[in-house]
């Protein structure tokens, strides 16, 4: 009986996960540019959220936008950042620091 209950719980888990993700909403991801430290990236993500609200209105934002998230990529200095950007443009995935 105990095992059955556990199996039931395990089966239920994916449904609860799905419930947490609202498919009707779009999550926004912000990726920082060069020479940006984390707190600036954070601040810029805040600006992006405000820009969406300004452009589409708060009603649209509430109904269609989910979380605003930023993926932070540290700076290595100007030339190294340019090099990294170049690699990405050329689609060279294996970027080595």
């Amino acid at each position: 009986m105990k095992k059955l209950f556990l199996i039931f719980l395990l089966l239920l888990n994916p449904f609860t996960l799905m419930a947490a993700i609202d498919e009707r909403k779009t999550d926004v991801y912000f990726a920082n540019g060069i020479l940006t430290e984390e707190e600036t990236a954070y601040s810029n993500a805040g600006l992006l959220r405000e820009s969406i609200k300004e452009k589409f209105g708060t009603t649209y934002y509430t109904q269609h936008i989910g979380e605003v998230t930023y993926a932070y990529n540290e700076t290595h200095g100007f030339w190294q950042d340019i090099k990294e950007s170049g690699y990405k443009i050329l689609n060279i995935i294996e970027f080595v620091e």
Binding site: E37, E50, E67, T69, Y70, N73
Partner: protein
Amino acid sequence: MNLQTTLTSFLLAFTLLFFGCSSESNESSKTENTSSNDTNSIKAFSNEKVEYKASGGVAYSWRQLSGTTVILINPHTDTLSFIAPEVTQEESLVFELEIVKNKKDTTTLKQEIRVIVLPAKSTSDTDTTTGQTVTPLKDTNVTAGETNSTNSSSTTTSKPLEIINGHMLPPEPDETLNNSTLLGIDTNNNGVRDDVERWIYETYKDKHPIYIDIAMQAGRAYKKVLETPERALEIHNEVNSATTCQIYYKYESKYFNEPILIQEDAVNRYFRLKIYYNTKERMDAYLQYDKLLSGGVYTLLEAKEQKAQCDFNTSKYEE
């Protein structure tokens, strides 16, 4: 034989004369200076100006460790100077002196000075010439183990206390001493380095007071980066709290029928890189912290939760 007797008598007389003078000299000194272990003690009466001169370094910093809080006059000079507080019974005030020996070797020496404050003298003891009772303290050298003392010729010049928006600014710290440690000097122990605090108040004095509140919050939060940069992921939200608060008052407050109070960032790149992390060591700690956050994905707080990140009383800005 006669010559030997004469010489002995002469030596004896000279010795007596020498020690006699020395003893008299000590008696004439009114400084009550005692030394026990590593702590020098001086006595003063309530409301008297206390001055205690140190030497043996190129930079000095005084801070109070215990007792009734007093306002130190120019705490980054060689002289400990303050007005003794009003006491009804004897009280000890303990001060710590940090001395930087020389500019090349920024190692600091520490020494404790104890000031025993006695209840005010009767009026008959008051110095009528100045109208104020002044403790006749002698220049007492605190050499802190220095033998080849490089005594600076700095003299104590009283600077007027600076008050901005009702806040008394800490004195400008000595640059060498302030930058000799990661955390620097924080005379008023409010969690923000003195040079940073002064910059914040002087830069934002003409702006809305929330600029100062937010920047001071950042100053307190950034201290954690200097203390434990390796704990970047744990302290990250707290370190960013001032920016979170700033985002609220820059963008979000209007959606909650509150005024937009921030137009330009109070906490920005310049503040971080040029003012707060202003030495190589501080910048290294910051870069270590920043590097550890790289590769992470972080979600912005919902607007309604952002306001709670302000660590000061925000109700005063609500109309």
